[in-house]
């Protein structure tokens, strides 16, 4: 897995962005950009070629699920893998995210091992599909 891949972390809580950034950093990923909701993430995503998006669901402006749908709806970035890290733990939400094309779903509170496991799984699948 390319440790230099460009990652966008989207969460309205600065604490959570920093935690995810730290954990990713500990896993060896350091090319990380942050956005505080889907609305501010969208132009950033369109401007730069991101390899991976980690997003929260419940955010003001644009939610993570809408961001995911927008990504899947834009041919240029539609294939970007998206990992959702959210406190939303209802069955309906998980199904909704899956139907919207999410690549991984982590329920907060989570731990470093879960984050690593999900990222590994996402890129393993992508490698298999390639």
């Amino acid at each position: 897995m390319d440790k230099n891949m460009k990652i966008l972390v989207v969460d309205d809580f600065s604490t959570m962005r920093r935690i995810v950034r730290n954990l990713l950093g500990d896993l060896g990923y350091s090319n990380i950009t942050e956005a505080d909701d889907g609305k501010s993430a969208w132009p950033v995503l369109q401007a730069g070629s991101f390899d991976f998006v980690v997003t929260d669901w419940n955010m003001p402006g644009m939610t993570g699920i809408d961001l995911l749908r927008n990504i899947r709806g834009d041919a240029r970035i539609a294939k970007t893998p998206v990992l959702m890290v959210t406190a939303e733990a209802q069955r309906e939400q998980i199904i909704e995210a899956a139907q919207a094309g999410v690549n991984g779903y982590i329920i907060k509170p989570f731990n470093a091992a879960t984050l690593k496991e999900k990222i590994d799984k996402i890129f393993q699948r992508i490698a298999e599909a390639a």
């Binding site: 809580f13 604490t15 730290n22 779903y105 982590i106 509170p109």
Partner: protein, 222 residues
């Protein structure tokens, strides 16, 4: 309450007969018919005063209620929201402070690892130091991730802030015309789509664990 035409007529007649009696040098006392009429009028007057008093009283009571509601919607609720936001801010500051220290200590852990490398591979101190540095790194990760409480509690508190805002708007609407005189304007309604989400799990709520979620996602091909 005005006296009926009949009462008026009877009163005029009684007064006329009283004047005639006074002019003809009779008793100065009011004739019995007039006395009776005046008493009836008194009763009506008192009834009227009583009715006015009752209306005034209820008017005052409802006015005080309005004042109280106005105070709650105009001052107490914005104050509650302000305090809750302050709590979110304080936990955010505390979490960042902890994360700052975690960052510094990660640097120390890296330094320990580098120092260990300077020992010969056969030196037992090398392995011990590397192990300590690794334990330190793992614990610092745990410490960092424990700070996610700030996001989770913050989300719950923000929901309560939204609820307070909703109640505040409803109160202001209820107060209607009085709302125009309030110091604080009603806040904008909360964004759609947020209320439908369940948010962070709270005790007593049926939620999905990461394992359940994994199984569900696997069944959906994710």
């Amino acid at each position: 309450m005005s006296a009926s035409t009949q009462d008026r007529g009877a009163l005029i007649m009684a007064l006329r007969s009283w004047i005639e009696r006074l002019e003809s040098g009779g008793s100065v006392d009011a004739p019995p018919a007039l006395a009776e009429l005046l008493q009836t009028q008194d009763h009506a007057f008192y009834r009227q005063v009583a009715e006015l008093t009752r209306r005034l009283h209820s008017g005052v009571v409802s006015l005080r209620l309005d004042e109280r509601l106005t105070r709650i919607a105009g001052d107490a609720m914005p104050d509650a929201r302000h305090r809750l936001r302050h709590v979110v801010q304080m936990t955010e500051d505390a979490a960042h402070k902890t994360l700052d220290i975690v960052d510094q200590m990660r640097g120390v852990a890296r330094q320990i690892s580098r120092s260990a490398e300077s020992f010969e591979a056969s030196d037992l101190r090398r392995a011990a130091l590397l192990r300590d540095a690794e334990i330190l790194r793992e614990r610092l990760n745990e410490l960092a991730i424990a700070q996610e409480y700030q996001d989770l509690t913050g989300q719950i508190i923000k929901r309560i802030i939204s609820l307070v805002e909703d109640v505040e708007s409803a109160l202001l609407e209820l107060l209607g015309a009085h709302a125009a005189h309030l110091k604080t304007a009603a806040p904008l309604p909360i964004a759609e789509g947020q209320a439908v989400l369940a948010g962070p799990a709270v005790p007593g709520q049926i939620t999905t664990s990461q394992q359940d979620a994994d199984a569900l996602l696997a069944s959906l091909g994710v």
